[in-house]
């Protein structure tokens, strides 16, 4: 079954996509990132993935406010009305 997830984009990701909020269908974080890359084109894909095809280490991904590294990373399941945020390089400290 296809599901619609709310996506929030920040920083340069929002600039390239031309929007800061959108909806997309996906069952996992991995599927969601692939769908975003297809929708927003090659430049967006290059920002999203490193040369090994993995999500860049300087992009933080949150599923309903929770860091996806504390869930199942790219395999984290997502459900209707979930909110996924992609935030570049929140260094702090």
């Amino acid at each position: 079954m296809r599901m619609s997830i709310k996506i929030l984009l920040y920083g340069n990701l929002a600039s390239i996509a031309g929007i800061s909020s959108t909806n997309i269908d996906a069952n996992t974080v991995s599927q969601l990132l692939d769908a975003l890359a297809i929708r927003y084109g090659e430049v967006f894909r290059e920002k999203l993935y490193d040369s090994n095809g993995k999500p860049r280490r300087f992009i933080n991904i949150y599923v309903n406010g929770k860091d996806y590294r504390f869930l199942k990373k790219s395999d984290t399941e997502i459900f209707p009305n979930d909110e996924v945020s992609l935030i570049p390089a929140v260094s702090g400290g």
Partner: protein, 419 residues
């Protein structure tokens, strides 16, 4: 300049590298910097004496509360106990808001003023809050501070008195950090350790510039540095490289040792396991709240630099931290917050493994005052024993209670394991 891909940007408010999102560092044309030791030594006693290596267009407009040239103590008593003849403590408890954070905050808020921003702020575990609040008060800029709701009240009090808006977050520092990043972007505000971070971290280099100058321009053999995000550690690494490059100190190696609390030791754990990157922890739990950052932004680089400099990263328990606070207070007269206790506890731990030569120059960074963490430390305080106001009572006290110590009594610590 991007730390990863080398992309170069003009000096502006920038979140991260626009190509790969990695951190950006300010780069300097080091070949053209000709300042001498003599020139520096004649300048005012603040961080702007190293102005050639700080990123301000005009240092005369800097927001300066008098930060810098804090004391470098030769810790003879502690050194004697530990068998080190050249042990030093860099005492940053004496900065204007009583922590090392005045160094980066002074540079960040000065830069914000240069950029003409409308408001400033930061996420903080507490120390940066007070420092950014104080500097923004001096700069006449509105200030927004995001802190975990369990931040020590003394730190919130200090930030509040400077007129900052304090926003406690129901969550960890990392969650406060993320919200602050969203707020900075939404309102186009300048947050010290977010979109001003490239400038902010430059201020922290001044601690190692001072250490070298105070050692008569000699390069220390080892520096022990408390780790929260790892930004201070990386700033010290860069500062040493720059001082060597412009010929102010001898080009000899310095081991950089990172110090964490066991209740929040993602960098130390990854270093011990030989990992290339840090695995974040979700719920830090340590008395060293100013270091309680579970997802350290510069942790990845600390792992690299610790390897490169021949240093290490160690973690110590809350009990060891409290013992170390007592030790440095009783031997050297310095009252540190738990972060400084982490540094001293790691020193002790490494001494026990024969990590040091007895005559090497070891510098411990004590980065914040004990009073900053008073409401945490007071939980470990054993209530003072009162006597009647007569000589006999005192004589009885002296005969029976002379070993009595009011702070950090072991039985009290046992009851306070969860801080």
């Amino acid at each position: 300049m991007c730390r990863e891909c080398g992309a170069i940007y003009p000096l502006k408010l920038l979140y991260a590298c626009e190509k790969c999102f990695a951190p950006l560092d300010v780069s300097y044309n080091l070949e053209n910097i000709k300042v001498t030791r003599e020139e520096i030594s004649q300048r005012k006693k603040n961080i702007w004496r190293y102005r050639e290596l700080l990123p301000l267009e005009n240092y005369e407009t800097a927001i300066d509360l008098g930060t810098g040239l804090s004391t470098l103590h030769k810790a003879e008593n502690l050194g004697r106990q530990l068998g080190l003849t050249q042990l030093y403590i860099k005492d940053d408890t004496v900065n204007p808001t009583n922590s090392f954070k005045d160094r980066p905050a002074s540079v960040a808020i000065s830069k914000a003023k240069e950029f003409g921003v409308k408001a400033v702020g930061c996420p903080s575990t507490g120390n940066l809050a007070a420092s950014v609040a104080a500097h923004s008060a001096k700069a006449g800029l509105p200030c927004y501070i995001f802190v975990p709701s369990d931040t020590e009240l003394t730190k919130i009090l200090q930030a509040s008195i400077f007129g900052a808006n304090i926003i406690p977050i129901n969550g960890t520092y990392d969650e406060a950090n993320r919200l602050a990043a969203q707020v900075a972007e939404h309102y186009d505000w300048a947050f010290a350790n977010i979109n001003l971070r490239s400038y902010y971290v430059e201020g922290s280099k001044s601690i190692v510039f001072e250490i070298c100058e105070q050692l008569n321009w000699e390069t220390p053999d080892t520096i022990i540095i408390p780790l929260g995000s790892g930004a201070l550690y990386c700033a010290i690494y860069r500062g040493l490289k720059q001082f060597k490059k412009i010929g102010l100190i001898e080009d000899k190696p310095t081991r950089l040792v990172g110090a964490q609390a066991e209740g929040c030791a993602p960098i130390a754990s990854s270093f011990k396991e030989g990992l290339d990157d840090v695995i974040p922890i979700e719920n830090p739990n340590t008395i060293a709240k100013s270091l309680a950052i579970g997802d350290p932004g510069d942790g990845y680089y600390v792992l690299r630099y610790a390897e490169e400099t021949g240093g290490t990263v160690e973690a110590v328990s809350d009990e060891e931290i409290l013992e170390a606070i007592k030790l440095v207070a009783s031997k050297e007269g310095i009252f540190t917050e738990p972060a400084g206790g982490v540094t001293i506890a790691v020193l002790k731990k490494l001494v026990a493994t024969n990590y040091f030569r007895s005559d090497e120059k070891v510098v411990c960074a004590v980065t914040g005052s004990g009073f900053k963490a008073a409401d945490t430390l007071v939980k470990t305080l054993k209530k003072p024993f009162a006597i009647d106001p007569n000589l006999n009572s005192f004589i009885e006290w002296k005969e029976n209670y002379a070993d009595y110590r009011v702070v950090f009594a072991p039985e009290v610590i046992q009851n306070q394991r969860k801080f």
